[in-house]
């Protein structure tokens, strides 16, 4: 078997120079004996971008990290020998590991959606076919549409775009509506800041999304579709377009697909970039060329959606699951996950955690496993405080709930949401009031501003939270926050407004004492809110070096030789420069 060298060329690794690495591999393999020349493949993201560029050798399954062009000759030389130890990942005990499975970042992962990502060349049609691609579609086209829908229902797949609505049921409602013209849409807008699961799927395995879209179209009886993809996603747009072109050229798209008599074509629409454009009615408005604002939906879009025709909108990750379900059967898929949430979920794990990246895990994994096993715990020996799930309109999950098995329902029950799968880990130095304020700020800018409770409710909540962070809060503010949050979630026109109060409500629920500390004691326990903290010098620890004086931008620090220095609190602007500069840890925050 020919050896393959898989060079990760996802957005992260490309930024770390993996193109130069590919060039170097081509250059140096030219010198090798033709019979042993390994095949070089540029793959999609492996999820562990912070340790990229990554290189994997198959069939030996050796993965190297942070590979530079200068390492290429050593890798090539080692192909039939022992692996290059210095490029291997070291597990938590410091032992170098060769395969991904032994790497704690990958050990608990279960890949369905990302089954091909990082393994195949996403721009190569044959790679997808060889990996079992389009088997699901071939099978589906031989079935009655309603049988496909039954299969998807049986799998228990729920929409990965945030709502968690049963994909099969949604398809069924649209299937049952008689309509000449129906639309099948893919939501690739991914507006959550810091989220990149859908981007990675579209970049790394575009055909799986396309195959899911075609199967969906056949099931509901649609002959035309749109893929709405965020405009900044250059590589995803490129790979998706290539996939459409290749599928068309090979008879998987267009008229009479695979001789079945079924016709389906689709095109890409570039998303405008606003967070709210990912909401289904705003997305449809945007495709129609109108302002991307949500509309009232007492009539479901499966009846009256895009251009007032019956429409199904499914998320990128939801669609990428479909070929797997069709190929391997609903039972196989439904055997993974929890009672109410089947299959896996792709998460982006970021924040104060040792290992960050993109991971795919079975539904029902605990937060503790995610953060402490996959993520390797909190850096610098600090304590875990909370994890924000569900993006800006999600909620925080505190330490006492670390053993919560995460799925759609458990997160909702605890006041957060699954959302599209962002997990931000926060350590003890995070101020939960400031965090809620940060999300309200984001949402006041990203709300479309159309309806009163969302626009004004968010504005008012931001105003109150800012006051509390500045030490001007009053106890009555907490009741007011709760009232505003309630009305915003009840009366807003779209889901953005309805979920927007989550960060406020969940932090109030789990970290009320922190709000009280800000309001009553005028103190920020995490030492974050500038107006509520004080930098002081511990006289016994000060070695009179005077370095702090040099870095203070406002000349707030004074001192004489051989006497401890002093910070003038009236002048200090709480920038923290002095504390980070002091080599003797003589400065502390209060």
């Amino acid at each position: 078997m020919t050896k393959k060298i898989l060079v990760c060329c996802g957005t992260g690794c490309l930024a770390n120079g993996s193109q130069a690495l590919v060039d170097q591999f081509y250059l140096e393999t030219k010198k090798l004996d033709v019979n042993i020349i390994p095949q070089i493949k540029e793959t999609g993201c492996n999820g562990f971008c912070e340790n990229g560029p990554m290189v994997t050798i198959v069939p030996a399954h050796i993965t190297y990290y942070k590979v530079q062009p200068k390492d290429v000759s050593d890798i090539l030389e080692s192909l039939d020998k022992e692996p290059v130890t210095r490029l291997l990942y070291k597990d938590d005990s410091g032992k170098p590991v060769t395969s991904k499975e032994e790497n704690p970042f990958y050990a608990l992962q279960h890949k369905i959606v990302l089954r091909n990502t990082g393994v195949i060349d996403p721009s190569c049609f044959n790679d997808y076919l060889e990996a079992g691609g389009y088997v699901g579609l071939t099978k589906a086209l031989a079935m009655e549409p309603i049988k496909i829908i039954e299969e998807v229902e049986k799998s228990g797949l729920r929409g990965r775009g945030g709502g968690g609505f049963s994909t099969g049921l949604k398809w069924r409602s649209c299937h049952e509506i008689t309509g000449e013209f129906k639309y099948m849409l893919c939501n690739g807008d991914e507006g959550d800041p810091g989220a990149f699961m859908d981007r990675s799927i579209m970049e790394g395995d575009p055909h799986s999304v396309l195959e899911g879209l075609i199967i969906g179209a056949y099931a509901i009886g649609s002959h035309y579709g749109f893929l709405y993809i965020r405009d900044e996603y250059g590589l995803a747009l490129k790979h998706m377009q290539k996939a459409i072109d290749d599928a068309k050229a090979n008879g998987y798209l267009g008229n009479n697909i695979l001789g079945s008599g079924f016709n389906f074509s689709c095109e890409i629409v570039r998303g405008g970039g606003a967070f709210v454009c990912g909401e289904s009615s705003a997305l449809m408005a945007s495709i129609e060329g109108r302002v991307g604002e949500p509309r009232v939906k007492y009539i479901r879009s499966v009846e009256k959606g895009l251009f007032d025709s019956p429409t199904v909108l499914s998320n990128v990750e939801s669609l990428a699951n479909i070929p797997y379900i069709m190929t391997n059967g609903a039972e196989n898929f439904a055997s993974i996950g929890t009672k109410g949430s089947k299959g896996t979920k792709v998460f982006s794990l970021v924040g104060n955690v040792n290992r960050t990246g993109l991971i795919e895990v079975p539904m029902g994994i605990t937060l503790r496993q995610l953060i402490f096993q996959i993520g390797g715990g909190i850096p610098n020996g600090k304590k875990f405080k909370a994890a924000q799930t569900g993006g800006p309109s999600g909620g925080c999950i505190p330490e006492e709930l670390l053993d919560l098995e995460i799925d759609f329902d458990s997160l909702k029950e605890k006041g957060s949401i699954m959302g599209s799968g962002g997990i931000i880990v926060m350590d003890e130095n995070t101020c939960m009031v400031e965090l809620a304020r940060y999300y309200m700020k984001f949402l006041t800018e990203e709300s479309c501003g159309k309806c009163t409770p969302c626009r004004e409710g968010l504005r008012a909540m931001l105003d109150i939270l800012t006051r509390i962070c500045e030490g001007k809060g009053e106890l009555s503010d907490l009741d007011l926050l709760e009232e505003l949050a309630y009305v915003t979630s009840e009366a807003s026109l779209c889901e953005l407004g309805k979920t927007a109060p989550n960060p406020v409500l969940s932090s109030l629920k789990y970290f009320r004492d922190e709000y009280l500390a800000h309001i009553v004691d005028k103190r920020c326990p995490a030492g974050v809110c500038p107006k509520l903290i004080k930098y002081e010098i511990i006289p016994d620890k000060c070695k009179f070096c005077g370095l702090c004086v040099k870095v203070c931008p406002v000349e707030a620090i004074t001192g004489k030789p051989k006497t401890p220095y002093i910070i003038n609190q009236n002048k200090c602007i709480r920038c923290g420069n002095c504390k980070s500069t002091c080599a003797f840890e003589a400065i502390y925050v209060e």
Partner: protein, 242 residues
């Protein structure tokens, strides 16, 4: 079609929303972005009511929800009153002491304290002006920006290119907050000045020149309604005698 609001039976026509039917029957549901003459925007959210669906109550916007046979609508629940009060407080913050808002504040006995103390333009962003102008086929104004910076304006805040100075936008505005300056010379609205079209017979102001030209395309002479009627009477007299 029959349905009930708080037990009171009301009849509705095909495709009526709860609001359409209730306004016709003169059963009051508050709502500031609703107008029977312009396209709905569903934006103020003051009209939230509860409807019975599958044996449980659901909070919906009365101006958007279509009436079904025997639908039960309730407006007296705790949930409705909580939502209504907070939204009114928001509207009050945006348009303090504005008569239209004050009337509702008094009706629902809400304490007059703005949630945010800031000088506001009194525009509650209901969108009625935009819809009115759109209906005339002009679309001189629109909402610009998003989130808390949203406002009603002309493209780039420049004098509105297509505006004809008809004043319909200001007419439908519930808070009467669109600045419109009329004097002897003419009218200023949306950063643009218009000259008056005066009646050729009596000199009274009819409307702006642009508006008159728009509604009377064939260079029709400007005549005010009073003179027109008098003229018609004269013609009538000439033809049929005294």
């Amino acid at each position: 079609m029959k349905f009930t609001i708080d037990g009171l039976e009301i009849s509705a026509e095909q495709d009526d929303t709860i609001m359409d039917a209730s306004r016709r029957a003169e059963v009051f549901i508050p709502g500031l972005c609703y107008s029977s003459s312009t396209e709905p925007t569903h934006s103020c959210r003051l009209c939230m009511v509860e409807v019975e669906e599958k044996n449980s109550l659901r909070l919906v916007a009365a101006c958007a929800y279509k009436v079904k046979e025997n639908l039960k609508v309730v407006t007296t629940t705790e949930r409705v009153s909580k939502v209504r009060k907070t939204i009114l407080k928001h509207l009050y913050s945006m348009a303090p002491e504005n008569p239209a808002i004050m009337e509702l504040m008094n009706l629902y006995k809400i304490e007059k304290a703005p949630i945010i103390k800031e000088k506001k333009s009194h525009c509650i962003l209901c969108g009625r002006c935009v819809k009115a102008c759109e209906k005339l086929g002009i679309s001189a104004i629109s909402t610009v920006n998003r989130g808390v910076t949203k406002e009603i304006n002309t493209p780039y805040g420049k004098p509105a290119e297509y505006c004809m100075g008809c004043g319909s936008c200001s007419e439908v505005c519930p808070t009467k907050c669109i600045t419109i300056k009329d004097n002897e010379e003419g009218r200023t609205i949306w950063h643009k000045h218009f000259e008056w079209a005066r009646c050729e017979k009596c000199g009274v102001i009819v409307t702006t020149k642009e508006h008159f030209a728009n509604s009377n395309p064939n260079n029709t002479p400007v005549v005010c309604p009073v003179c027109k009627r008098r003229y018609m009477t004269d013609v009538f007299a000439d033809t049929f005698g005294e």
